[in-house]
């Protein structure tokens, strides 16, 4: 044993040194990140207190913090804060699920069946060319002030990116895999379900990340234009009373909600793509 440690000592210490350096680097990165945030918020606070920027328009971090605290403890004008977040999330999630299901089903169907792609391709391109956010007021007229109109605007925002990715994914399945499955005895249906769908999930998942953001945008814009509940309504209400802190506070809450759901999606993706090599899966 003593001999072994004697021989291994320099190597071990070198590994140790490297490990420490890696740890230090990590601490450095986190420290710098925190410093950037603190610096930004501090500068903002100081500038508005000294009157370099107008606190009425630009607000200041401490006021935003007070506003969030007030919402958390006393609720908002529209009801409790949790209820507003719940509404927005409900609308975004419903719209997202509907849009994703529709986009994936249609994308794979059109990707697999050339005839359908040839017939519907131009129409989908035309629909995609419409700036879909302007549909929100129309949905408000159609579906009223309730959640349905927000769900609808979320659906149209989510559908297209998911559709195009699923379509592309179904088109670009490795020809060898399809040929192999057919030789092994798979029917057309089995090729679609057991080869095309799993092969396209990588493509689909890339679009899921982006499209959940779109679903939130759809819900918020819908609420902003007209609603009885939700974070978008809070932004609109704060803006209506010239409460800049309220607008920023609602934005902050939104960002936290979006980050949280993004984290959940990444977690689900890791579970689903265990078959992928670890280094190639992460696109970052």
């Amino acid at each position: 044993m003593p001999l072994e440690t004697a021989v291994a000592a320099p190597a071990a210490s070198r590994t140790e040194v490297r490990e420490r350096a890696a740890r230090n680097r990590k601490v450095g990165v986190y420290g710098a990140r925190a410093a950037v945030l603190a610096g930004f918020l501090g500068l903002w606070e100081v500038c508005s207190r000294t009157g370099v920027i107008d606190p009425f328009n630009f607000s200041q971090p401490s006021r935003i913090w007070d506003q969030i605290r007030q919402w958390v403890t006393h609720g908002t004008a529209q009801g409790s804060l949790g209820e507003q977040i719940g509404y927005t999330l409900y609308e975004a999630l419903t719209g997202w699920v509907l849009g994703v299901v529709g986009g994936v089903l249609l994308g794979i169907a059109l990707g697999r069946v050339r005839f359908l792609a040839d017939v519907f391709g131009p129409y989908i391109k035309v629909l995609n060319a419409i700036p879909r956010i302007v549909l929100a007021p129309i949905f408000l007229i159609w579906f009223g002030l309730g959640p349905a109109s927000k769900v609808a605007s979320a659906v149209v925002l989510v559908f297209f990116p998911v559709f195009f990715n699923a379509f592309q994914g179904a088109r670009e399945v490795d020809r060898n895999l399809v040929a192999n499955a057919r030789i092994l005895g798979a029917s057309n249906r089995k090729v679609t379900l057991q080869v095309v769908v799993p092969a396209a999930t990588t493509w689909i998942f890339t679009s899921l990340h982006v499209s959940f953001g779109f679903a939130l945008i759809g819900a918020i814009v819908g609420e902003y234009i007209g609603a009885t509940k939700g974070l978008g309504l809070m932004v609109a209400a704060a803006q209506g009373t010239f409460n800049a802190a309220g607008v920023y506070a609602a934005m902050t809450i939104l960002a936290v909600v979006a980050l949280f759901t993004e984290g959940l999606l990444t977690f689900a993706e890791k579970r689903l793509f265990r078959w992928k090599p670890a280094d190639a899966g992460d696109g970052r």
């Binding site: 060898n176 040929a179 030789i183 005895g185 080869v195 799993p198 999930t201 078959w275």
Partner: protein, 277 residues
């Protein structure tokens, strides 16, 4: 191995191509002839290697036999039946990796029987049997990306053999492997094949591999491919790929076949150079 003479009267050949021609329309709109007037007969239980210059249309010949593609002209028969669509008796080992990356090793080997409606328990049993024959029993829960190239190829072999194909088509299956692994895989292939009595068409550009494995070596012309010459390999079986290479008869055959093949390779290379210039 019982050697069956394909020209023996009365025997139904396993594979019969007569005047098979395949033309493709290229993206630029011109017609490209990959295979021209190809006549080839493979007897039941026979191992035929097809060699030819790169890109001459060897692979296309296999896709015609498998039913993945239809001939533009001529006829392809498998056990006397004209080929229309995928034939359940045909197995195909591809040049590139074609195992399903999202399935485990066991699930990959089970895929064929499952696609054909075999109950899961029976399929699992058969798959485990073939995995043990290719020496991958310990890896049945791994995903393909966790295996080496040679191991993935063994998965592909098990995946093909588990369906008990009467005809085995192999499209340069070992070309992506390093030389040592390739020799091991060739021996393993001969072992696996010996028990089955199936006919093999093995496409390769490696003449060494072709002679070591096959009963007959078919030399193709520069593209469009057609049969130039057929050589019978009269080396005794069972063979070991490394040992057989050292036999004087092997060297003789190599020289003979290379005289025929080398010319076509030169034609292809000159064409390529002409195109590049």
């Amino acid at each position: 191995m019982v050697h069956v003479d394909p020209h023996e009267a009365g025997a139904v050949p396993a594979i019969e191509l007569t005047g098979a021609t395949k033309r493709f329309r290229t993206p630029s709109g011109t017609l490209h002839t990959a295979v021209r007037e190809l006549d080839l007969t493979v007897a039941p239980g026979e191992f035929v290697a097809v060699v030819g210059p790169t890109g001459c249309g060897k692979s296309t010949t296999l896709t015609l036999v498998s039913g993945l593609e239809e001939p533009t002209e001529g006829e392809v028969r498998v056990y006397g039946e004209p080929v229309s669509g995928i034939n359940g008796h045909v197995g195909f080992v591809f040049q590139q990796d074609a195992v399903f990356p999202w399935r485990t090793v066991l699930s990959n080997v089970m895929a064929g029987p499952r696609f054909r409606g075999v109950p899961a328990d029976e399929a699992r049993e058969r798959a485990r049997d073939w995995l043990s024959r290719v020496g991958l029993s310990a890896f049945e829960d791994r995903y393909p990306h966790q295996l080496s190239g040679g191991m993935r190829k063994r998965v592909a072999l098990a995946q093909t053999f588990v369906n008990d194909p009467r005809i085995l088509l192999m499209d340069e299956p070992f070309s992506a492997l390093d030389v040592q692994t390739r020799a091991l895989m060739s021996d393993q292939l001969l072992e696996l094949w010996a028990g089955t009595g199936s006919s093999v068409v093995f496409v390769t550009h490696d003449l060494d591999e072709a002679i070591a494995l096959a009963d007959r070596v078919v030399v193709m012309t520069a593209g469009p491919a057609t049969v130039k010459e057929v050589f019978t390999v009269d080396l005794p079986r069972p063979r070991s790929v490394e040992a057989v290479r050292l036999q004087p008869r092997f060297v003789e055959l190599y020289r003979e076949i290379w005289a025929s093949l080398g010319e076509e390779v030169r034609i292809t290379r000159e064409r390529g150079a002409g195109r590049a210039a």
